[in-house]
């Protein structure tokens, strides 16, 4: 299994370079063999389209080129030049003797330099792609005309957008959204991980600059003058422990509950199911925050226990890190079982009944049936779901934050540059606190986000290769 993956990787690298090679040689041969119209198109994009009568395509190419050149000359080049330093002059306060006041003289802004430089780079890539497309269209046009065929008209081009090219129309809006609001910010944050951008170096009054791999070194070295490395390793450890328990307790208990409700002879199935589904319907933040308050020092649980005479003093559930950790897992079970019950019910109904029939004839007891039929079947069908919910739990902000933000005391060992973390914090809640506190540390947030990505992608790759539905696809067919 492993060998094939690594082979695939090598092949895909090879394929990539091969593809680049063919593109380049295609560009050269098209120039050599092409007519003068094609050759002019290398300089003036869309020229070929315009001369050959495809007005719309030609105009689009031409306008794009004009806009690109104008942008690059006026501002684009400037941003790229500043990208190396991320600005040299911060905003300054200068004394104005005429009015006897201090005024701000605008300087550079590192944040926007980096942002616009990034946009410029993406614009350049888009331009190269368009230029290549322009050449390709010239070649295709020449081939078609050489064979005596006709080129598509503008009207046909437009019509194709609701027919065979309909996917372009449909994907235009969704992909723009993803590029602008996911891809760009993520690339930007990856850059930030290599700068010293934080509340002090805010890019305006104090500029930030490139620091190379320093942030990553700080994260892994023990002697960086702070507890950063210690905190990171311990929070990562708890994140994984939490994700493991949160995923698997819910999963198995959810199956058990579904089995109990679906068992032959149990009456009022709809009612039991309904009660659990009701708790899905109630917005999670209401139930989480309320349950968190139930367990607080003067909450109902402590009040009840004292009234019953079971304890004399309130138990500080959220102040004790072990209690708090157990409690978040237990409350997560309370939140999660209804979902798993629904999912498991749907899947259990699809298990071929004759499997159970023959198991009964062979004398298997209910537990054995569960172990050798129900569980393998469930694991087979829900393997990918387990993986996504494990990853979801690594980033489960809501449960941890809403349960613990009110009361959990932070661990003094986890203090990093003025922001603290508690024993129940996950990487994602830590990241949130780092970016919102008084000492917002964006560079550290970026580094942690990258580390979360590394952890999640590693787990995904490993478990995807271990997954039964991936290995023996036909076990249950």
């Amino acid at each position: 299994m492993k060998r094939t993956t690594s082979n695939n990787k090598k092949n895909s690298f090879k394929q990539f370079f091969k593809a680049v090679g063919t593109e380049l040689s295609d560009i050269v041969t098209t120039f050599k063999n092409g007519s003068w119209i094609t050759r002019v198109s290398y300089l003036i994009m869309g020229f070929g389209n315009l001369v050959r009568g495809q007005i719309l395509r030609g105009l689009l190419f031409l306008i794009f080129e004009a806009v690109f050149i104008a942008y690059m000359i006026t501002t684009g080049v400037g941003w790229l030049q500043k990208m190396g330093t991320l600005g040299t002059e911060a905003v300054k306060r200068v004394y104005d003797p005429i009015y006897d006041v201090y005024v701000n003289v605008e300087g550079d802004n590192s944040f926007f330099i980096l942002l616009y430089a990034l946009l410029t780079i993406i614009f350049c890539i888009a331009f190269i792609w368009a230029w290549r497309e322009n050449i390709r269209q010239n070649r295709i046009s020449e081939e078609l005309l050489g064979k005596g065929k006709k080129l598509t008209t503008t009207r046909q081009d437009l019509k194709a957008l609701v027919d065979e090219k309909f996917y372009k129309t449909l994907l235009a809006l969704p992909m723009t959204g993803i590029v602008v609001f996911m891809v760009l910010p993520i690339i930007f944050m990856i850059f930030i991980a290599f700068t010293n951008y934080d509340a002090e170096h805010n890019g305006y009054t104090v500029l930030f600059s490139w620091v190379g791999l320093d942030n990553f070194k700080n994260l892994f070295s023990a002697s960086s003058g702070s507890n950063l490395g210690y905190t990171f390793v311990h929070i990562l450890g708890w994140t994984l422990v939490w994700a493991f328990f949160a995923t698997f307790t819910n999963y198995f208990l959810g199956i058990v509950v579904a089995l109990m409700i679906n068992k032959k002879g149990i009456k009022l199935k709809k009612m039991w199911r309904g009660i659990l589904v009701l708790t899905i319907a109630i917005p999670q933040f209401v139930s989480l925050m309320y349950v968190s308050k139930l367990f607080s020092k003067n909450g109902l649980i402590n009040g009840f226990l004292i009234n019953m005479g079971l304890i004399d003093w309130p138990i500080e559930f959220w102040q004790n890190s072990t209690y708090a950790r157990i409690l978040v897992i237990l409350i997560n079970i309370w939140i999660g079982i209804p979902y798993l019950m629904l999912i498991a019910t749907g899947i259990l109904m699809n298990i071929p009944q004759d499997l159970y029939e023959s198991a009964r004839i062979d004398g298997a007891n209910p537990f054995q049936q569960f172990k050798s039929i129900t569980l393998p079947y469930m694991l087979f069908v829900t393997g990918p779901y387990l993986l996504t919910s494990f990853i979801g739990n690594i980033n489960n902000f809501n449960v941890i934050y809403l349960l613990t933000s009110g009361g959990v005391v932070s661990n003094p060992k986890y203090t990093v540059f003025g922001t603290s973390a508690s024993d129940t914090d996950l990487l994602i809640t830590w990241l949130f606190n780092i970016t919102t506190g008084a000492t917002s540390d964006y560079k550290l947030a970026a580094v942690i986000a990258i580390m979360i990505f590394v952890v999640v992608s590693t787990i995904s790759v490993i478990s995807y290769n271990l997954m039964p539905s991936n290995k023996n696809e036909e076990d249950f067919q």
């Binding site: 449909l170 609001f181 149990i266 139930s287 909450g299 902000f397 970016t435 999640v456």
Partner: protein
């Protein structure tokens, strides 16, 4: 005779088994429902607005509910405003969200084009980054246009819908099960791709459309991380989730705890009714999504 006894034994065993199951189910129902009973009781408490160690109010009153709907002189409880914000965000973003998800999932399920596999892989990898990290950039940009703080409603709509395409999986799974032969028959009759989508596929996709609208409508009520970051401590720009959390922070808890309980009840009732009404579609979507991964 011995056969009969064995049969009796089996029967007794199932009865015992079922009794145990009934006991567990009753206990579970109590555990699952009791917090909601408690919150209703506490929301009617008149004698103390903080946390007390007992459940049954000594003095029943509507005061906590009234406090939600009148102007608060301290501007701490701006429940009407939060509710309005959240409702606008939920209503608008559920429509845009559904539109984007349907476009993406239909395309990826039905059409074959160059780069389709690559696109799906890129989205998979993007999904492995914690989405919150995009906020640091987006916040700075949105604050330049004034869509943060008090004006956070359009900002949040944008954030909830912009990368909606990432959640195409469940509805792609649905479209994958709609037989392709229908499309092909229509195409042979001269229908364009767009006509196939609007006249044939969409009318059949009602369950998945409702599922998408329902989940997208419920998401802003429960989202916390983006809403809190964008509102940035400005009460006027909060959603109910952020505003209500604000009520039970250490400094506000003793004055506003029962207001929080009342707000919880007011928020939960319409959402719960809507959900129970459309439950069937939700269950279908959730189970389908889990099986297909």
């Amino acid at each position: 005779m011995s056969d009969n006894r064995k049969h009796m034994g089996m029967k007794a065993k199932t009865t015992i088994g079922n009794t145990v199951i009934y006991i567990i189910l009753v206990l579970m129902s109590i555990i699952w429902l009791i917090p909601f009973v408690c919150i209703v009781f506490e929301s009617f408490r008149g004698e103390n607005t903080g946390q007390v160690g007992y459940l049954i109010p000594k003095q029943w009153s509507w005061a906590n509910y009234k406090a939600l709907f009148v102007e608060d002189p301290d501007k701490t409880v701006q429940f009407m405003l939060w509710y309005k914000n959240t409702f606008i965000i939920a209503a608008v973003s559920s429509l845009i969200h559904t539109f984007i998800v349907l476009c993406t999932s239909y395309t990826l399920s039905r059409m074959r084009f160059r780069g389709r596999k690559a696109l799906m892989n890129i989205m998979l990898v993007l999904g492995m980054f914690p989405g919150f990290i995009t906020m640091i950039v987006l916040y700075t940009i949105l604050s330049k246009i004034g869509w943060t703080g008090a004006g956070s409603v359009p900002g949040l709509i944008l954030i909830y819908t912009a990368s909606a395409a990432m959640g195409y999986y469940v509805s792609k799974g649905f479209f994958d099960t709609v037989p392709r032969s229908l499309d092909e028959a229509a195409r042979i009759d001269g229908a364009t791709r767009a006509q196939v989508l609007f006249r044939i596929t969409l009318p059949m996709a009602k369950p998945i459309v409702i599922y998408q609208i329902l989940t997208a409508f419920m998401a802003p009520w429960g989202d916390f991380i983006f809403a809190k970051y964008i509102a940035h401590g400005t009460s006027a720009g909060m959603t109910v989730a952020v505003g209500m959390q604000n009520l039970i922070t250490k400094s506000n808890n003793s004055a506003h705890y029962t207001h929080f309980c009342a707000a919880g009840v007011v928020v939960a009732i319409p959402i719960t009714v809507l959900f129970m009404f459309l439950q069937k579609y939700y269950v279908e979507g959730v189970t389908g999504g889990a099986v297909k991964g």
